[in-house]
Amino acid sequence: MFALSDSRIDADVLACDLANDGAGACITFEGRVRNNNAGRAVRQLDYQAYGALAAKEGERILDEAKQKFAILDVHCVHRVGSLAIGDLAVWVGVSSAHRDAAFAACRFIIDEVKLRVPIWKNEHYADGESGWLHPDNTPVG
């Protein structure tokens, strides 16, 4: 399941959904809001999404992960709206019989989400400026 959320991500609840008696591994990734980027102090972030397409593309990535890796279950949730420093921005969880598949699938999913899903990050800096970012976290010129 891929989802966008406009409220706080509860990682504990999401991880419980991955419970599976056949799973010997559960790997989770938490992407959190950092207080700096490219040498500038960051105060908060806004995420904006093309909701309908983001949901479809996110689901496609999870389907691809299930095809590529021997995993049992997978969830990914990405925040939209205003986030404070330390907030969870994105959460990925994968369960599998053995750890290698879960590690690899988790890495694949977060990398593809950052590359493909129509979500945009607007950083608000401590000096009062703000700006939309490119995928490599450089400013949109």
Binding site: G31, A49, Y50, L53, E57, I110, V113
Partner: protein, 79 residues
Amino acid sequence: MNYRVLYFASLRDASGRDAENVTSDTHDARQLYRECKQRHGLTMDADRLRMALNGEFADWDRPLQNGDEIAFLPPVSGG
């Protein structure tokens, strides 16, 4: 033709709207973007954007039809 155009991120800020109804003679998405770019003083060129047609990624060469919903997508930065 009547189109619905969606704007996101820097394009939304620059155009001052998240969507608009556009009337145009063109069936070409690049031309439609040029018209929107000129009307709103957008700075990003089409070659830096992806296009979505009726809620799916689409090639810029796909001909537009009356009633289509077109989204011009700046480079994404989720995660």
